[in-house]
């Protein structure tokens, strides 16, 4: 799962700490998501999209080659 969190955050001049506080997660989670290492839950994904006032598709992009057919991040 790829995402544009870093770009959207930069456009709004928002720090990782601020975004983390707004969505109710730790800064480490934001860092992991920006590095495409952590795939967030649907709830968190919607919350992030809501903070940026965009659709969820504008933030996250599903890629079959990366995520696998089951979507398992094992």
């Amino acid at each position: 799962m790829k995402n544009r969190i870093r770009v959207l955050r930069a456009e709004r001049e928002m720090t990782q700490e601020e975004l983390a506080e707004l969505v109710g997660v730790t800064r480490n989670t934001i860092i992991s998501m920006e590095k495409n290492k952590y795939c967030p839950s649907l709830k968190l994904a919607y919350r992030i999209a809501h903070i940026f006032s965009v659709g969820i598709d504008d933030v996250f992009t599903y890629e079959e080659e990366i995520d696998g057919p089951s979507g398992d991040d094992e």
Binding site: G24, V25, N28, T29, Y38, P40
Partner: protein, 192 residues
């Protein structure tokens, strides 16, 4: 409250509760743990409520869940192997020590017996001898010799018996852990 302050506070409370419980057990006062443990939990929970940053989010919970599952897998597999190896000391003949008893006829007509313990899996001989004792007169065995005779065989096997006991304890622990895991699995399967 910062995260570090919360962790320090939790550590101090846990240490105090452990010290109080330890002291009360030594003193034979069983009322102190009943009060100290819930009080400690309340203090830690109150501190947790005042932490101004997110302590555990969904990523943290997922990491903990995976780490717990991996730990369980490693402990179950490693523990099962350890339990089988340890218990095999009790049932395996080559692993048990060799204990022999030889009766000799003395010059005065009395009989003496020498009990000897040799290393497990070895051929009995002077170089494999662990220890030995001699009862001078079998028919006039005194109390000390009788006790030595009784305890000799028991002590010879005690190492293997202890290993077997450790193996059984590990096996029971693993069984209990699996049972608890199964119970939680069924609970969460119904919840989600």
């Amino acid at each position: 409250m910062k995260r570090l302050t919360y962790l320090t506070c939790s550590l101090v409370v846990a240490s105090m509760v452990a010290a109080m419980v330890g002291w009360s057990m030594a003193a034979g006062n069983f009322l102190v743990p009943v009060i100290a443990i819930p009080l400690g939990v309340i203090v830690v929970l109150a501190c947790r409520a005042h932490v101004d940053i997110v302590i555990a989010d969904e990523r943290e919970k997922r990491i903990r869940s995976k780490a717990a599952l991996r730990t369980l897998e490693v402990v179950i597999i490693g523990g099962a192997i350890a339990a089988v190896i340890l218990y095999s000391f009790v049932t395996s003949i080559p692993l048990t020590p060799i204990i022999t008893g030889k009766i000799f006829l003395n010059a005065d007509g009395t009989q003496s017996m020498t009990i000897a313990e040799y290393k497990s899996g070895s051929v009995p001989g002077p170089e494999t001898l662990v220890r030995s004792t001699t009862i001078q007169d079998l028919n006039a065995m005194n109390e000390t010799e009788a006790v030595a005779y009784c305890t000799y065989v028991r002590e010879g096997f005690s190492g293997n018996e202890n290993r077997g006991l450790a193996g059984m304890t590990i096996a029971c622990g693993l069984f209990a852990m699996l049972a608890i895991f199964g119970a939680f699995y069924l609970y969460y399967e119904r919840t989600y």
